[in-house]
């Protein structure tokens, strides 16, 4: 490597210096009201600043080395990849992999302590279910729903109503399993009502309307005091129970039984979605994503299929809401803030939109990480002795940053859907589309 090349390499590392400064600011101490400069001045402490810039530069070097990886290495990776794909394409291998994953999921709660069991249900399980549902909207149909948690709230409040936990009493008290049907139906109807006028328009209007809807649902939950009991919330939602054929079983408030209930539902839903993706409906979604005009010309009504995806997403969200409400037995409006919608979105995007396993992997990885941060707040990681400089209250800082970083570097996610990844790649070369949110933002760049 000659000198000019080295200089060029060094020059391309320069943008990583401000990135390091930003990292220092992000990981600095919490700000204090009344001392606006406190957090920044502490973050600019030379040691902290130096560490952060060093980390950013190392990341920059890795990115550069990755960009300049030798052709031989590239070929080997491609070969290994195509070989794995060939093996994985065989049905029995694929089913075997799923069986191993399922067995792992079944054994998992017995391998961890009580804290992690709770995380497995409340944080990972419920959010994995939410992510699988949002994946239908974002991944399959290529739409953006930013108020996804609103339907989760609707599901939770409907089950609270039918189990008699709200100030308004239902005509008849229902077992959770029956209430589930009403709750899912209510969430789906809400999705249809919201989607029908909006989906006829440009796709990006859906994003802002759902964002507003997510906010409105919380306002309604707080203000409709006589119906929802306002911000005091609804305590005493009954747990799932079965009383048939002499079997009497109550899931109660314990973690592991709920984990298995969630897992059973999640498996059923995933199988259903996998079948849906490979059906006429799934092909219609693909066609709309890749070229809406052509799809329409072939007789596919885009609004109908978009609405279908949106309603399926909404009802899955409502479903997760029921499970959450029954598990916690108490809900209040703060369980349904707009923040959660974005959290679910990041799980889907990070995992890989449009892929079946991706959203679950995303939910597991990200929610595990945040739970870890929460648990070991400020304490050094055992064995390494390094502190994670991330504070639990800054979680959404990293959620936002992760969304931006993923979109710039790896929009298809860590476990991409093959088709989706190819669509994104081709759309970037100007062939076809990769979503159903309208014409690409296409201005030729000089």
């Amino acid at each position: 490597m000659n000198q000019t090349q080295l200089l060029e390499r060094g020059r391309r590392l320069l943008p990583w210096v401000p990135a390091g400064v930003l990292l220092a600011v992000m990981t600095g101490p919490q700000g204090r009201v009344g001392q606006p400069g406190y957090s920044i001045s502490q973050a600019m402490h030379p040691g902290h600043l130096f560490d952060s810039i060093a980390i950013a530069l190392v990341a920059g070097v890795i990115v550069q080395l990755w960009g300049a990886r030798p052709a031989q290495f590239r070929d080997t990776v491609a070969q290994v990849r195509s070989e794995t794909r060939r093996i994985y394409a065989r049905r029995e291998i694929r089913l075997g992999v799923y069986a191993v994953l399922l067995a792992f999921a079944i054994l998992l709660p017995h391998m961890v302590g009580a804290y992690w069991q709770e995380i497995l249900v409340d944080k990972i399980g419920i959010f994995a279910l939410l992510a699988v549902g949002l994946n239908v909207v974002v991944g399959f149909a290529g739409l953006l729903d930013l108020g996804y948690i609103a339907f989760y709230a609707i599901g939770a409040y409907v089950v609270a109503y039918f189990t008699g936990a709200l100030p308004v009493q239902p005509p008849f008290i229902l077992n959770d399993f029956y209430a589930l049907i009403f709750a899912v139906a209510a969430a789906m109807i809400a999705g249809l009502i919201l989607g029908a006028p909006t989906l006829r328009l440009r796709g990006d209007y859906l994003a802002i309307v759902t964002l507003g809807f997510g906010e409105i649902i919380t306002i309604l939950a707080v203000n409709l005091d006589s119906v929802t009991n306002g911000s005091r919330g609804a305590p005493g939602i009954t747990s799932f129970s079965v009383h048939v054929f002499g079997i009497n079983y109550d899931w109660g408030l314990s973690q592991v039984p709920y984990y298995y209930l969630l897992l059973a539902f999640a498996v059923i839903i995933m199988v259903a979605f996998a079948m849906l993706e490979n059906s006429r409906v799934g092909r219609a979604w693909t066609a709309i994503r890749e070229d809406e005009v052509a799809a329409q010309a072939c007789g596919i009504p885009p609004v109908k299929y978009k609405l279908m995806a949106f309603a399926i997403g909404a009802s899955t969200s409502g479903f997760a809401g029921v499970l959450y409400a029954a598990k916690i037995s108490f809900i209040n409006p703060s369980s349904f803030t707009v923040l959660f919608s974005i959290l679910v979105l990041v799980l889907v995007i990070f995992g890989g939109m449009g892929s079946l396993i991706g959203p679950i992997a995303g939910a597991a990885a990200i929610q595990w990480f945040f739970a870890y941060v929460q648990k070991h707040d400020g304490a050094p990681i055992p064995g390494i002795g390094v502190k994670i400089p991330i504070r639990p209250e800054d979680i959404y800082l990293y959620v936002g940053a992760l969304l931006i970083v993923m979109m710039i570097f790896r929009p298809q996610g860590i476990i991409p859907s093959k088709r989706r990844a190819r669509e994104i790649g081709m759309a970037e070369q100007g062939i076809g589309g990769a979503d159903a949110t309208g014409a690409p933002i296409g201005s030729p760049v000089s």
Binding site: G203, A207, I219, I342, E393, V399, G400, P411, T437, P440
Partner: protein
């Protein structure tokens, strides 16, 4: 009708809000005009402007208690600072988040996700840096009644908001209609490809559009902060409402954004007297959905932009 008893008071408050909505809505509309992108992070441009103005006025006031012209000067400088900070944030946003996507011709979904990510990043960063409680802006304006319209006393704040908003809107209108920059913005909005063939530097026009939107949004942020308070989540609701205003007037249409902002401010303020005040946001959202259902091109139609 329920709003007749306090009519003038409600109307003046509504106009105050409406002018601020209009200033923010222009940021959405201008960016939508050139990029056909809903810039979700614009609400955070507004928030940053508020913090910028706040910190400068706090530093200027210190422990003193300025009155008269000094106080007025501080308010003016604070507003200016808000505008500058807003412009810087908007410019960086375009450079760091959107431009890499534009270079790659990324699908629209990627832009929208980046926009919402940037919004969350920015407000969480503000919460991290400056704490999560609301700040009060130093009390520089007098609360004396200058004159009254109907039963409503007009204070300095009302004049400040109306005056500065009208001035900014007038200047913007002149810029877009008569300068080379405005010509560029209109050309890119109509047809970016042809504009670039005719020698318009699209990247520069887009940057400048973000800067103009940031100037207006940042100034509006500080003015809004004087009226209530400054906090890291202050942008979300006004941002959503300003977008509603932009759609109401016809997105991409500059005069439409102003009309939409004022209309939304008035309707919302008259409306809350018929229901409870906590329903204010529900009214705005209801308007958004109704407009999208019955007149998606808005009151004045989409002039700057195209209907994709």
């Amino acid at each position: 009708m329920c709003f007749t008893s306090n009519f003038w008071s409600l109307t003046i408050d509504g106009l105050n809000n409406g002018f601020l909505y209009a200033l923010i809505a222009l940021g959405y509309t201008l960016v939508y005009g050139v990029l056909q992108l809903i810039n979700f992070a614009h609400s955070e441009v507004f928030m940053s402007g508020a913090f910028g103005g706040l910190f400068l006025t706090q530093a200027l006031v210190g422990t003193g208690n300025p009155t008269g012209w000094t106080a007025g000067g501080y308010v003016a400088v604070g507003t200016l600072m808000g505008a500058v900070v807003g412009a810087i944030v908007a410019f960086l946003l375009e450079r760091v988040a959107y431009r890499p996507l534009r270079r790659r011709h990324a699908p629209r979904l990627a832009f929208l996700i980046t926009a919402i990510g940037a919004s969350y990043f920015l407000f969480s960063l503000a919460g991290h840096l400056f704490g999560r409680d609301a700040y009060g802006v130093p009390d520089l304006l007098s609360h004396k009644s200058l004159f009254s319209i109907g039963s409503r006393n007009i204070q300095e704040y009302d004049l400040l908001v109306a005056g500065s908003a009208i001035a900014m809107l007038f200047i913007l209108d002149r810029i877009v209609a008569h300068t080379r920059l405005g010509q560029g913005i209109r050309a890119v909005a109509q047809d970016a490809e042809t504009a670039s063939l005719l020698g318009v530097n699209i990247d520069r026009v887009i940057s400048q559009t973000f800067i103009i939107g940031g100037l207006l949004g940042g100034a509006a942020g500080f003015l809004f902060g004087i009226g209530s308070s400054v906090g890291y989540t202050m942008g979300f609701v006004p941002g959503l409402k300003a977008f509603t205003a932009a759609v109401l007037g016809g997105i991409g249409n500059i005069r439409g954004a102003v009309l939409g902002g004022l209309a939304l401010g008035l309707v919302e303020n008259w409306g809350v007297t018929c229901v409870r005040n906590s329903w204010r946001d529900v009214i705005a959202f209801g308007i958004l959905v109704l407009v999208l259902m019955f007149r998606p091109t808005g009151l004045l139609g989409e002039r700057l932009g195209r209907s994709a």
